[in-house]
Amino acid sequence: MSVDSVFVHKMWNENELSKMVKGGVPYAMLSDGGGKVGTSLGVYNEDAGVENRGRFIIDPDGIIQGYEVLTPPVGRNVSETLRQIEAFQLVRKSKGTEATPSGWKPGKMTLKPGPDLVGKVWEVWKTDIAVDD
């Protein structure tokens, strides 16, 4: 979503993006002329008249589980977004009985919060888990 019109989206997809991604962008390119939606999310940059680089993860109940907002010159990391989605999906599937500690990736250990874990996280979670190899 950007403040550009759907006509500009079409041109951008046909003239540039389809040269990066075969077949062009597979998902919907939304238009937010005037930044009304961006304003409702808190990411519209009124001075510049454009959206800040905002990314929202919204769960099946319509609840915002996470967001990231960057200034224009720095791009996102798609792998990190996918990691967060997998983590939120795991937590949701466990109905909140499991939590993903810092550095969690699919396949790595989760925490099962409860009385027995209080003060014992140091036994199961080490700081080297927090950073990628």
Binding site: S2, V6, N45, G75, F88
Partner: protein, 83 residues
């Protein structure tokens, strides 16, 4: 989910979907200024309708049509910018 739209000369617009504006009982005019406020995690995403371009068609997308699915919503400064 997304409906196909007829293309006219007018630039399609959309916007937030929600509560209708409240008019004060004494009828005094209000100065409306949207307050920039970041949404909160754990709270519902504000619903919206937005014109869209999707696989060669001009459509319209309503966020609440995607209830039951995980959604990643990305905003960016502009088409043909560099990052």
């Amino acid at each position: 989910m997304a409906e196909k739209k007829q293309v006219g000369c007018a630039r399609p617009t959309g916007g937030p979907v929600g509560q209708p504006e409240k008019i004060p009982e004494d009828g005094t005019p209000q100065i409306l200024k949207e307050v920039q406020r970041m949404v909160q995690v754990g709270k519902p995403a504000p619903d919206f309708v937005a014109p869209a371009y999707h696989k060669g068609e001009f459509t319209s997308v309503k966020l609440s049509d995607y209830l039951g699915k995980w959604v990643v919503l990305c905003l960016y400064p502009g088409d043909f910018t560099f990052v």
